[in-house]
């Protein structure tokens, strides 16, 4: 139902997995009261698709990503990866969290190697770590410790740590939120290039409408908490996209309207 009419009608490489979110609701218990966070969210993502989630702060975007990652089980509904029910974390679904959360006691190289080490395949696959570090342009920092990196570099290490596992689904939680606008734009093109080359399915949370439009095939707009899907918008434009594109500008206006921000436009 999704990428059907996209201008780029991409023939995605076989790497990406299909992600199916079906009637998912979730809530937290705070001081005995129940705080509903997700309300019957259903979303089908095709293999290799790039989907952006937009929504007001605190509406439940990160919570949805934690469910996709398998770090928590939903109170209701089902999540599936390639028809298989998600019951726990798996390295085929890797998350880049809102904070880079690098391990401060590990060098850049060792941080990136984390996934392969945890899966017990580091010994034979060391070159993959080097490749991932080269990919994010940090070859000369492989022996640095996290406290010696800038915020943007730390985010890039977090990205490399995820990519080294060759995920089928890459989950990004505002990975560029803390970067300055220049680094941000550079990283955005890097992410698109990587996605096009590797073909993984991508689920990106962002609060930047422009970022969502420049990167994604499809933008999902969520309501206030508890989050519900308000709109599902296909972005039919080939890559690389241009920020000044009037088509994107029109979509941006529409989305800001959905988020209740017409007045500022």
């Amino acid at each position: 139902m999704v990428v059907q009419s996209a201008a780029e009608a991409i023939t995605y490489p076989a790497v990406g997995a299909e992600l199916d979110i079906e009637g998912v609701s979730h809530a937290f218990d705070i001081d005995g009261a129940t705080l509903p966070v997700l309300d019957n969210v259903s979303l089908a993502i095709a293999p290799g698709e790039f989907v952006a989630l937009l929504g007001p702060s605190g509406c439940g975007k990160s919570t949805l990503l934690r469910l996709v990652a398998g770090l928590e089980r939903p109170r209701a509904g089902v999540l599936r990866e390639d028809e298989t029910r998600i019951t726990g974390p798996h390295p085929s679904r890797v998350v880049v969290f809102q904070d880079p959360t690098l391990f401060p006691w590990r060098s850049v190289w060792d941080n990136v190697a984390l996934g392969l080490e945890a899966q017990g395949i580091l010994k034979t696959q060391r070159h993959r770590v080097d490749d991932a570090i080269d990919l994010v342009g940090l070859s000369s920092f492989r022996n640095a410790y996290p406290h010696q990196l800038s915020g943007g570099m730390a985010q890039r290490v977090a990205l490399a740590r995820a990519l080294v596992n060759d995920p089928k689904i890459l989950v990004l939680d505002e990975p560029l939120g803390k970067l300055d606008s220049l680094t941000r734009i550079a990283m955005q093109s890097e992410i698109v290039a990587l996605w096009q080359r590797k073909g993984f399915t991508t689920l990106l949370v962002t609060h930047d409408v422009e970022e969502a439009l420049v990167l994604a095939n499809r933008v999902i707009v969520l309501s206030d908490r508890p989050a519900r899907i308000k709109a599902d918008i296909a972005v039919q434009r080939p890559y690389p996209r241009h920020r000044g594109d009037p088509y994107l500008a029109e979509l941006r206006k529409q989305i800001l309207g959905l988020l209740g921000l017409e007045a500022t436009w």
Partner: protein, 338 residues
């Protein structure tokens, strides 16, 4: 506009190591003062007669003069000596103070007996202990180090493992936590009478007490370290495919290590106290016992000599622990230098 040019700067003579008036008052001056202070110490030993009967006065005096000569040569040759010369220059103010202190000590005890004599032995009598009573002193050092090391390693290991298990597993916490709260705060020395009764040997009793004194702080701090590890680290590791053993060994423990070292330092301090008391009361060997024995014979010089050795050993142990920590925790910034 500035009148300086590159060629001017290059033509200016490089300030090579020449003894001028200005650097006489600087680093050379302090080196010279250090040399003079040690010379004064040496001469004070040799010039006046001793008020008591000490056999090492002359050797001490000559030794001090030799040191004075070394300091003198070292000071003026510092530029050609490299590392050692630099080290000497840095320590010169301390050498002045030490030389002056020794001179005063020598004069106030051995020469004019301004301080009451058996209680304040002169430097040469302490030197005498180090030369004439060396075998016994070395035996004591060896016994103390052996006892301390055994107890400390056992206590630190058990404390670390216990701390990790209660930090990690709720079940372990349920059983161990109350025991820890009940027994932990008790000073290990309170167990002394019971321990010496119930253990087969005083050596095993003392090992137990030292391990106990070490184990409590190590347990508590390891536990709090493991418990305070941010859950974000576990989330990252789990999404990358980590199993529980990986989470403990590669996430919880490294993240808790700074806390563990605080516990190891605290444990080291309290175990020193237990060691000395245990040696004084139960074990018939070690520096604590040597102190006790010296007191019994009113051998005050031996007591001071043993105290100095003890302080060097304790300080050495702390230094070693700091070095280990600095190596293991290079990733931390701004660690305290010892």
């Amino acid at each position: 506009m500035s009148t300086y040019s590159v060629s001017d700067a290059a033509a200016a003579p490089a300030p090579r190591a020449a003894v001028t008036l200005s650097n006489l008052s600087g680093s050379y001056g302090i080196g010279l003062a250090a040399s003079l202070a040690w010379l004064a110490f040496g001469l004070s030993c040799l010039y006046w007669p001793d008020v008591g009967d000490w056999s090492r006065t002359d050797s001490l005096g000559i030794g001090a003069i030799v040191i004075a000569a070394f300091v003198l040569f070292g000071t003026f040759g510092a530029d050609y000596l490299g590392g050692p010369g630099e080290a000497l220059r840095k320590r010169a103010p301390w050498l002045v103070a030490l030389g002056a202190l020794f001179t005063l000590w020598e004069v106030a005890t051995a020469k004019f007996a301004w301080l009451p004599l058996p209680f304040f032995p002169p430097p040469q009598s302490i030197l005498e202990v180090y030369t004439d009573d060396l075998p016994k002193l070395l035996d004591s050092v060896f016994a103390s180090v052996k006892l301390q090391l055994g107890g400390y390693i056992i206590g630190a290991t058990i404390g670390f493992v216990t701390g990790v298990s209660i930090g990690w597993s709720q079940k372990a916490g349920y059983w161990i936590h109350p025991v820890l709260r009940f027994i932990g705060p008790l000073p290990a020395t309170a167990w002394l009478p019971i321990a010496f009764f119930s253990f087969p040997s005083s050596w095993s009793a003392s090992t137990f007490l030292i391990a106990l004194a070490t184990g409590f702080p190590v347990t508590v701090l390891t536990w709090s370290g493991v418990a305070s590890v941010s859950s974000a680290y576990y989330d990252v590791a789990r999404t990358l495919g980590a199993k529980p053993s990986f989470l403990v060994l590669k996430v919880a423990i490294p993240a808790a290590l700074p806390h563990v070292f605080v516990g190891l330092f605290m444990g080291l301090g309290s175990s020193f106290a237990v060691l000395v008391v245990a040696e004084m009361i139960g074990v018939k060997a070690g520096l604590g016992w040597y102190l006790q024995w010296a007191q019994g014979w009113a051998a005050y010089a031996n007591m001071y000599a043993a105290l100095i050795v003890m302080s060097l050993l304790c300080s050495g142990a702390i230094t070693l622990l700091f070095r280990t920590r600095d190596r293991l925790l290079v990733w931390q910034k701004g660690v305290v230098k010892w």
